[in-house]
């Protein structure tokens, strides 16, 4: 094949014009004739028994078309990606404030709200379980009948105790991380419709339409084939739309009323009921030899998964896998608990358990380097994994490894090279500047023990363009643009000749989730496979039409020709056929050129016995550097500049990588400095954006992205994945920069101005208020 023309080029997003002009309709923008408004009655208590539900007053309201309770769930009254422990509609008890107790459909939003107020539910409140470590005690009230420990993982390798005895430096600390909210622009929203044959279509932004289809089918007791799920476009997801959100409610209401029904969660409802990042308490003990060789890491993670499991188990597994970062670590003792409480709901979130442990680990790494008197970057480089090394979980790193390459690039970036000079010039004498660095590796795909598959379809359209279908939804990350670029180069046409079909269970094949930094790698490989088959099909048509032997058909840009034809004759008679002509010829013969491609991920040489999804074979790598200024009078931390150095394998679209990188830096900065969903006694205290603080554009630093491409041979054009890693090490890069500036160590994020100020006072030996 020719040199790629589109892959690696700075191509504008194919959905850019529609998005910036507002032409693009998200699911919450859709409207259908006769459409009803749906609404969800949420629990009035964080933990209570349901004694009685009386819907009669609500049903009597004029304009209210349906009121549904648990009695109206035809199939399994439960959902959950791994275990269906979350009731669709609660029947015996409620376990958090976001629990759904009843649904209504009415002719207006106001009528729907009125109906919710008219539903009478009698509760018997139960003690609230709000501390995960207390929840683990036998004596604690049970959120679920079979106990509060949903999942426990333990991995040991080598002998940590011996290593701790021999080590020159051992540091041990406890870290606390916040309950970050995804804060997508589009709240959980959608519309469901039903046709005259009883088929249901659910239009709802999410991250895996085919799995949503199965979860909806399970709850409705319906054949999945009668349910179509459309998940593209999604107005932001970040993991928060991986689990079912409102899809089952929509389907139930459409099934009951036979009319289109729309639900749009308010921001407050989304904040209370929606998914969050697991808060974790992490005890970490890390050892190194005098020469700076890392020897051992002992880790204990307690994660608060809230009321239901969702992906809590896999999140804790990945926290364990990532807890030794991008380093060789010969002795490990790693243990994680995923615990039920009445604190909202936690599940998938960009980074998937890595953010918490990498914050802890990268702080430990800086502490050890400081104790050993070693340069922080050199210490990381010395211990960084190389290809062929054995990783912490015992598997061999056979795929591309960019840890050292990203650290090398960091050592040359401006804010690292000039750090002493930059630190010497704060904007006021009471302000202090520091530079911090952190690095990580990030698993791509679902890991060992679970076949991670993908598929793509390609159809030659009558006008000579190609329809390329990959189900992994476009959730804002830009995967459809990357797919179009890879398809264009695989087929030998222009990006403008690709029509992407995405996130639709009827018109695409199941290609898995838009999660786990996997969609570009998976979809790309499946597209490559389908494209090779399409070229064969085109060559067959061309050979027949041109009367040339099949092996003489060669591909040009947007056309094929028979090589043996005499040169210099520019028309079809010369033996050249455009894709459009191929389409016409095929059509005239009643043939439709459509091919399918599939792909299964390669996996690591060994798994971790008893735990699915561990470890990964392919990782992306990233090093991030931050320059901060700390106001010692207030504790305010300003991130002045950030450098983000990802290794995504081949950068299919550098603009897309930069956008991911910049968004990731700001998200990881919010996590480091300001974001936390505060829940007290099961009640969310930060249900809107005036109390849940995310960074604004004014808070964002100047961000430079330096792409390091360690090509992955198994990836399409050498690509891996980068959606998650970009938001991870920036958090400890910032907190390490605070240390560099002031000498205080941040072990509890977010490092709000108040926390930083109080730590500064403590460091100075002055208790606050003195």
């Amino acid at each position: 094949m020719d040199e790629p023309r589109w892959v690696g080029a700075r191509v504008s997003r194919i959905d850019a014009a529609d998005k910036v002009t507002g032409r693009l309709k998200f699911m919450s923008d859709l409207s259908f004739p006769g459409m009803l408004w749906g609404a969800v009655l949420r629990s009035a208590h964080p933990h209570a028994l349901i004694k009685k539900i009386d819907t009669s007053k609500a049903e009597a309201i004029d304009g209210v078309v349906a009121v549904l309770t648990h009695k109206d769930v035809p199939g399994l009254n439960g959902f959950g990606i791994v275990v269906p422990d979350q009731p669709v509609l609660c029947f015996d008890k409620v376990r958090y404030m976001g629990d759904a107790v009843a649904l209504v459909a009415a002719t207006s939003k106001e009528k729907a709200s009125e109906a919710l107020r008219a539903i009478e539910v009698e509760y018997e409140p139960l003690p609230v379980v709000d501390d995960p470590e207390e929840a683990m005690l036998e004596s604690s009230p049970k959120v679920h009948a079979d106990g509060n420990i949903h999942h426990h993982i333990k991995v040991e390798r080598g002998d940590v105790d011996a290593a701790f005895r021999e080590a020159a430096v051992v540091v041990e600390n406890t870290y606390y991380t916040p309950r970050q909210m995804h804060a997508f622009m589009e709240t959980e929203s959608g519309v469901a419709t039903m046709d005259e044959d009883g088929n249901i279509t659910v239009w709802c932004g999410s991250q895996h339409p085919f799995r949503d289809q199965l979860q909806i089918a399970r709850a409705l007791g319906m054949n999945p084939r009668k349910i179509q799920v459309v998940s593209t476009p999604t107005g932001g997801a970040f993991g928060g739309k991986d689990e079912i959100t409102v899809q089952i409610y929509l389907a139930l209401l459409a099934l009951r009323t036979g009319r289109p029904v729309k639900i749009v969660l308010s921001r407050e409802e989304s904040a209370v009921a929606g998914m969050k990042r697991h808060p974790m308490k992490i005890r970490m003990k890390t050892a190194a030899a005098a020469d700076g060789t890392l020897l051992a890491n002992e880790v204990r993670v307690v994660a608060d998964t809230g009321a239901y499991a969702s992906l809590g188990g896999p999140v804790v597994n990945l926290a364990i896998e990532h807890s030794c970062g991008a380093y060789r670590m010969p002795n490990v003792k790693l243990e994680g608990f995923c615990v039920y409480t009445n604190n909202g709901l936690a599940g998938a979130f960009r980074g998937f358990g890595a953010n918490q442990v990498i914050f802890a680990l990268e702080t430990q790494i800086d502490m050890i380097a400081e104790r050993l008197g070693m340069d922080r970057l050199e210490f990381r480089r010395k211990n960084a994994l190389r290809q062929g090394d054995v990783a912490a979980l015992g598997h061999t790193m056979t795929a591309s490894v960019g840890a050292v390459a990203t650290l090398d690039a960091a050592s040359k970036c401006e804010i690292w090279v000039r750090r002493e000079e930059l630190k010497a010039r704060p904007s006021a004498p009471h302000k202090k500047r520091g530079v911090g660095i952190a690095t990580e590796l990030h698993g791509c795909g679902l890991g060992v023990g679970l076949p991670d598959y993908g598929a793509a379809t390609i159809e030659l359209l009558p006008d000579g363009r190609f329809a390329v279908g990959v189900s992994c939804p476009e959730i804002g990350q830009g995967n459809t643009t990357a797919f179009a670029q890879m398809a264009a180069d695989s087929l030998g046409c222009s990006v403008e000749d690709i029509v992407m079909v995405s996130g639709d269970s009827r018109y695409t094949l199941d290609s898995g989730t838009s999660t786990a930094s996997r969609s570009v790698y998976t979809g790309g490989n499946a597209i490559r496979c389908a494209a090779a088959r399409m070229r064969e099909a085109i060559a067959d048509v061309a050979a027949e039409a041109l009367g040339a032997p099949r092996e003489e058909i060669a591909f040009g840009r947007g056309s094929v020709e028979a090589r043996s034809c005499p040169a210099g004759e520019p028309t079809r008679s010369a033996g050249r056929l455009s894709f459009r002509e191929i389409a016409c010829i095929a059509e005239s013969k009643g043939r439709r050129l459509k091919t399918e491609g599939d792909f299964i991920w390669p996996v690591a040489d060994r798994g971790v016995e008893g735990y699915f999804g561990l470890p990964h074979l392919i990782y992306s790598y990233i090093t991030q550097v931050a320059l901060v200024e700390v106001n010692t009078l207030t504790g305010e931390v300003e991130v002045l500049r950030a450098v983000s150095i990802p290794d995504p394998g081949k950068a299919i679209n550098p603009v897309g990588i930069e956008a991911q990188s910049e968004g990731g830096v700001v998200m990881g900065m919010g996590y480091a400095l300001m974001e936390d969903t505060v829940i007290e006694q099961g009640i969310t205290k930060t249900p809107n954006f005036s109390t849940y603080i995310i960074p604004t554009s004014v808070d964002a630093p100047e961000i430079e992205t330096i792409i390091v491409e360690e090509l992955e041979p198994s990836g399409p054009f050498g690509a891996k994945g980068i959606g998650e890693a970009v938001c991870v090490p920036i958090t400890p890069a910032i907190t390490n920069a605070i240390h560099d500036a002031t000498g205080i160590w941040i072990t509890h994020i977010p490092a709000t101005a108040e926390r930083v100020y109080m730590a500064l006072r403590k460091q100075a030996g002055e208790p606050a208020g003195a």
Partner: protein, 304 residues
């Protein structure tokens, strides 16, 4: 949000009449940046909104009274002790960018420039910020430091209230239900005046003050001030003047150490609470430190 009707008076008298007619059922709406949130969350459910946005005369920013005679060419300028009028419907954006306010009371312009976001500054009004009467309202500390007075109109006519008497508690003002705010007046600063406004928020924009401070004084020398007025936001049920600090500053030669010492006296003037944005202890410290930081700026000549 519950249903309501809207009446749009064409004059102040009509507005006052509407309020008198509807009593506690009515609520005045100007920019709506606070009220609409309250309506949406059902924290208020008035039957009638009195939309005063057409009362264009309340949008004016002008010199109301000249302190001394000046020539034609100075008509647009403002001099020390001129009385400045800012109408209640002037938006934060208008006040922040007004050359008159920037010259006469830069701390007020600064405070307005730090309210919310560009969208909120474009809609929210200075009168609205006062009527919400939040202890964290950003325009209020500068008005305290300017010793402004507030004109309010009601069925009994127009009365003028000292700004400190206007605020009586958290979200409570001296405004009667049938009164509206017309605007505020204050004396312009001259070349000898120094001032600053500093707000500590949880982020740089779209932030509610954790603590704010407004400072105004007359400079006697490079490190000496008199007639200091210090007001803090978000550290008491209303915005408060720090009179202990003001007395201590008067005529005193300042260096970093004395500035720090005097700033810490602010402890005596504030009584913050703990809430989602900050603890009592932190707020107390920040009242002192924001003032100290501002004084350091004045001493090093960095601030206005």
């Amino acid at each position: 949000m519950r249903p309501f009707s809207v009446t749009v008076p064409e004059s102040v008298d009509e507005a006052v009449e509407a309020l008198a007619r509807w009593g506690s059922e009515a609520r005045v709406i100007a920019g709506g940046t606070d009220l609409v949130v309250e309506l949406k969350e059902d924290r208020r459910s008035p039957a009638v909104l009195v939309d005063i946005s057409r009362l264009h005369e309340l949008r004016e920013i002008r010199v109301e009274k000249r302190a001394g005679a000046r020539g034609e060419d100075e008509a647009e300028s403002v001099g020390e002790s001129d009385v400045v009028w800012v109408g209640a419907l002037a938006t934060h954006a208008e006040v922040a960018s007004s050359p008159l306010v920037r010259a006469a009371a830069p701390l007020l312009a600064d405070a307005c420039a730090h309210v919310g976001s560009p969208q909120i500054r474009g809609r929210g009004t200075i009168g609205g910020n006062m009527c919400t009467a939040s202890p964290a309202g950003d325009v209020i500390p500068p008005l305290f430091a300017l010793e402004a007075s507030v004109d309010v109109a009601g069925p009994r006519g127009v009365r003028s209230v000292g700004v400190e008497s206007f605020f009586v508690g958290p979200k409570r003002s001296a405004l009667a239900p049938d009164e509206i705010v017309l605007g505020v007046r204050f004396r312009a600063h001259g070349p000898e005046h120094v001032s600053f406004f500093r707000k500590l928020g949880q982020r740089k924009s779209l932030a509610i003050s954790v603590v704010s401070v407004a400072f105004a004084a007359r400079r006697l020398g490079p490190d000496t001030f008199e007639d200091a007025r210090v007001a803090f936001g978000a550290v008491a049920p209303t915005v408060v003047r720090a009179r202990t600090v003001e007395k201590a500053l008067d005529g005193k030669r300042l260096d970093a150490a004395t500035a720090r010492h005097i700033s810490r006296l602010a402890f005596r003037d504030v009584m913050p609470i703990t809430d989602i944005r900050g603890s009592q202890a932190y707020r107390q410290e920040m009242a002192c430190n924001l003032l100290y930081e501002g004084l350091l700026g004045l001493l090093s000549g960095n601030a206005e």
